[in-house]
């Protein structure tokens, strides 16, 4: 039972690593996953995706999910 957490761009540099692995029992939602790993609420500017689709912080996690956290996007 594990969930892969990925970080991108400036957020990856702030966190100091590109990836975390979380035991699925440690968190039931995306917001709780952030809190478990970083000891605080998910900052409002941080965006989240699960399995490569945008989600809100209350999105419920399932075993094997890939969660991504990243800063506002700046393409184009």
């Amino acid at each position: 039972m594990s969930i892969t957490i990925r970080y991108f761009a400036s957020l990856r540099e702030q966190v100091g690593r590109g990836e975390d692995i979380l035991d699925a029992g440690d968190a039931t939602t995306v917001g709780e996953a952030w809190k478990h790993l970083h000891g605080a609420d998910m900052p409002p500017r941080v965006l989240a995706a699960v399995n490569q689709e945008y989600v809100a912080g209350d999105h419920v996690l399932a075993d094997g999910d890939e969660v991504a956290f990243f800063p506002p996007v700046t393409g184009g």
């Binding site: 995706a49 800063p71 184009g76």
Partner: protein, 154 residues
Amino acid sequence: MTRIQHGRTLVRLEETHFEPWSELAAFERAAALDDGKTGAASVFVGTMRDFNAGDDVEQLFLEHYPGMTERELEHIAAEALERWPVNAALIVHRVGLIRPGDPIVLTAAWSAHRGAAFEACRHLIEALKHRAPFWKREDLRDGSQRWVAENTPA
């Protein structure tokens, strides 16, 4: 290079320099847009500037989220075809190291009439800027490096 084509939409990431105008010509041929049904094409090309927020920029690194980027661009192209009477939509975007003057992004929409073509093309670039997971890191002429915090409003 990732290339995803569904009927008359094409979404592509380029790791090296691309020529927007040859891309357009190639896509028009591939999608048979000379069939007499298409009266208007609207095109946006975004090119790297050598200045940003008052500073001289030497080069740009474009990071993205492989997989999600292509998926999000596909959503955006599909939306354009759902919302407007559009015959075809094209999105090409650079990733990796980019120099001033290099094209970064190409969006284009084809329709029977100009209104839908303009609006759909605008949707492609605006939705891309808000939703597609790309991030720009700038190398400034003074040797420092910074992430672009957010896109300009227009």
